[in-house]
Amino acid sequence: MLTGLIGQAAIRLLLVSVLAALAIHTLAACTGSRRWRTASRLAQGWVFLCAATASAALIRLLVTGDYTYPYVASYTGPGLPLVYRIAAFWGGNAGSLLFWSLVLTLYGAVVVGARHEDSERMLPIVSFVLSCITLFYALLLNLKANPFVRLDHPMPPSGLNPLLQNPGMTVHPVNLYLGYIGFAIPFAYAVAGLWLGRTDAVWLKVTRRWTLVSWLFLSIGIVYGAHWSYEELGWGGYWAWDPVENASLLPWLTATAFLHSAIVQEKRGLLKAWNVVLVSLTFLLTLFGTFLTRSGVLWSIHAFANAPLGVWFLSFLGVAAAVAAALIVWRWPALRANGRMEAVVSKESAFLLNNVLFLGSAFAVLWGTLFPVVSEALGGRRMMVDAPFYNTVNMPLAVCVLFLMGVGPLVAWRRASVQGVVRAVAVPLAVAALGGTATAAALEAVYHRWSLLGTLAVAAALFNLWTVAFEFVQGVRARMQMTGDGAWTCLVRLVSNQRRRYGGYLVHASVAVMAVGIAASGTCHLDAQVQLRPGESADIGAFHLTFTGMGVTPGTVSRDMYANLVVSSGGRTLGVLRPSATFYSDGQQPTTNVALYSRPMQDLYAVLLGTSPSQGDIAIFDLHVNPLVQWIWFGGYGLILGTLVSLWPERARRQAWSVTGVPSALEGLYQQMAELEYDWKMGKLDGDDYHRQKRALWTAARREEAVEAQLRARLERELQEAVRGARVGEG
């Protein structure tokens, strides 16, 4: 009772505090006074405390099981383990909105601790934007979906959906939220940068970092969700292209595009406007995704704009889009590029192509997801598309992206010669094509399935792995020649000195591994439905399964009915699989539990569909063999590792090369020269191009050095004059 009152008070206070915080941030931004800026920081912390108090109260209610609260009664029940009682916090609509506010305010409290150039001017605006978003959620919590609504009498508890009672469901939503909500910060920085008229290196550095953090969480959430779906839902697959999955994929695609085009802005000063657009688009897509999952627009099409939360989200989405668009248009002149594209064949244009492919894929997913709405608006007839549509469009695009991922690192900045690229690519591509064909042939021999796209995907993935290995080997070799150190030392130094580059390559390699897993399991998936009496056997792929009988594990809340399937392969017994069905004493629908024999090369996947005692203890099984599925999960771990390498802070020594932490024009040129030397050493440039570009960079650097020298001289002169003036004054 008291806990509930505290929670209720906390969300009311949250609303009031956010409004107050908005005023404080405005004052801090307008006056620029140190006091108000400190107050603005403290306000962010205070708002987080309000959300944290409300969250703690709700968790306490869920854990103690106070069923006078409908939220508690709807998502928990007697006998529910503690971990799922806590997970029920984000298991329902109102609770997840509170969780959303908690994460958003936590990010808000963390981000104001940042110290970078111009952070004093930027942070009040960043906080203002984040507070506007928090205000939206605080309004929803207070007006539309309050988890602290209390009844006079307890409600019968209905328990958490058994499908959600899986360890994965404690990790997967949290990661998705952390990723999804995290994209608010790059957006807030984009607004701050546009407002102050500086979307330069500072903005880019901070934004890229926060995007990468969110991107990491979102990637983990997506892969984990696929894993959960695979192990729990029992349909033998891991990705169904349903609207909720698509909602998580959309911002991931645009964020991935941004992470790449950000490199172009950093190295070459191009694509500034485009990057701001991508960051805004990513944030808007997270709102759109949330709207999809809350409004029911795609589920029951009639609920369009009927569901109360749908209207709210749609309005907020509209406002956010309008603000972002207006700011971009207003600041368009400041978003002009510092340089130009010099040649059609260059790393810049490879990145551009990458962006077009990612956005094309995002557009296809968006179009497919919204097709019921779009087709009705355009043609009057509601139509929908499902998995075949998404696969037809996205698989070829994914193969193109994979090829580009392999080519991109081999292409030099600014201007690369076509012959040079062809020369660099020819051998690895030929090897990859052979490897792809061999892999496809091997799979065909075992599974009797073949597809052109699958073969191309495997070849492209191998090509990628080659490119990444090549970059590592070349880098280590060059370093060994220079320093004379051992290979291992050189590898460690190489990676730790260029964490972003080599972390990125690790991510590329991991994606390639995942691609092999997806291509193989998508192409060569076997399935069979069999009915077996005890003692009978069935074969699928290389596996031989014998059904030896049924058994029951007793329990108070639920009991499991399982089937024993003895699995052997090539005359060797591998073990017993026990697919089962769980029956609940409270009358909930029974659920099936997948039995999995998972090995790196293939998974045997068995589901107990049902039994038919009337026909002599027949049991019906759904059997699947999925080759290389584990590679997807392995790739997922590699992706996490690679991203962490990229994110790991560079040592202070390396940051000290510039007082501000951000390159001046001259330092930017020196960096480009270093990049040119790198490309030359790695054999990505031919002699002519290298010398020509080196000359151009030298000329520019001399010019810039002269300007700096002049400035320095003037500064010294003026300082001396000032000092003299002061002495004269004293005298």
Binding site: T293, G368, T392, A696
Partner: protein, 152 residues
């Protein structure tokens, strides 16, 4: 940092045009891909009432129909992998009998939303080749897709 304009600036215009041309071609190909895939894969998306509203026209045409399960009508024969049930828009409307040769989803109870893809046959039964259900109150629970068993 506009040194690029000095020595090599003269080629930039045509580079830009070429680059834009390339990107436009790529975008067009993607558009075409989407267009082709949509034409091939799109199905009509109707409610039970709308399907009945089409009358005899609806028979034999691939469609996706959404409605709610009528719990009392659910029959599941695991040995034949045959699921039969009725679905309707709301309590008053005329129910649509559905046959589905495939698995019975875990959550298959009264009044839960269901989406079926298939064809209405001449006897007024909807033969579903795909079935999709979603848990209505806990939106995180992913919908599950069930594909019809290959008819033996």
């Amino acid at each position: 940092m506009d040194f690029s304009r000095g020595e090599v600036g003269d080629v930039s215009v045509s580079t830009r045009v070429k680059l834009i041309a390339v990107l436009v071609v790529v975008a067009a190909v993607i558009g075409l891909l989407i267009q082709t895939a949509v034409t091939k894969a799109a199905t009509y998306y109707l409610t039970v009432g709308e399907l009945y509203g089409q009358g005899a026209q609806a028979i034999g045409k691939e469609a996706t129909v959404s409605g709610n399960i009528v719990g009392s009508t659910v029959q599941w024969d695991p040995s034949k992998r045959l699921l039969q049930f009725e679905m309707r828009d709301d309590a008053q409307s005329k129910p649509l009998p559905v046959v589905f040769h495939g698995d019975r989803p875990d959550d298959f109870s009264n009044d839960w939303p269901v989406v079926v893809t298939g064809k209405l046959n001449a006897s007024g039964q909807f033969e579903a080749s795909k079935l999709l259900i979603k848990c209505p109150s806990k939106y995180q629970a992913k919908e599950q897709t069930y594909t019809a068993a290959p008819s033996a």
